[in-house]
Amino acid sequence: MNLFKLSAESLRPENFREHLRDPACGGFSTFEGWVRNQNEGREVMELEYQAYEPLAVKEGCRIVAEASQRYGSSKALCVHRVGDLAIGELAVWVGVSAPHRDAAFAACRFIIDEVKHRVPIWKKEHYSDGNSGWVNCEACAEQAANSRVSSSRRA
């Protein structure tokens, strides 16, 4: 099994690991991403994940399959939350079983890194000062606005 899923419900890892059991595997590695109470110096109260579901699932499944090809891992599963999450909640879970530990660790690391870069999921943080922002979007938007201002000043 090589699978990527989205879930609007709280994640229960104890349900996932049973799917990854394999008598040929001696190593099982997991990664859990939790909602943190601060980001770049700002206090975060809660956050929201939004996904472009059809393409997120397609790209996520491609990543999980790539991990298996690249590292020879046996089974892998990645589940990502969508919707509103509180501090401390489980946002993403990755599990990989493999014949040996090296492949399990490497494939697990590969999956979470690629998911963060490639899967169309967005995160909105709500801050203690009442503001909110889409992570990685607002800074770009500001930079774009600033560069337009500075280029018009130059012109």
Partner: protein
Amino acid sequence: MARRKLRIEYFAILRERAGVDCEELDTEASTPAELFEELSQRYAFPVPGQLKVAVNDEFSDWQTLLADGDSVVFIPPVAGG
């Protein structure tokens, strides 16, 4: 000039700026690049550095020719995990 009917779905910062989740548009835009230009003017979209585009639920090139009935999604920088 040929016109085509497209379905556009918005996410994250673009959804907030557009004020709708999705819409159908009758347009002369023939590529995702032309379509984004048209919509940017209407909604004053920010232009995120790493903007990507998907056509019919698959990543696409900005110069792909759009056909009647295509669905288009613009993908601002992602932040899963």
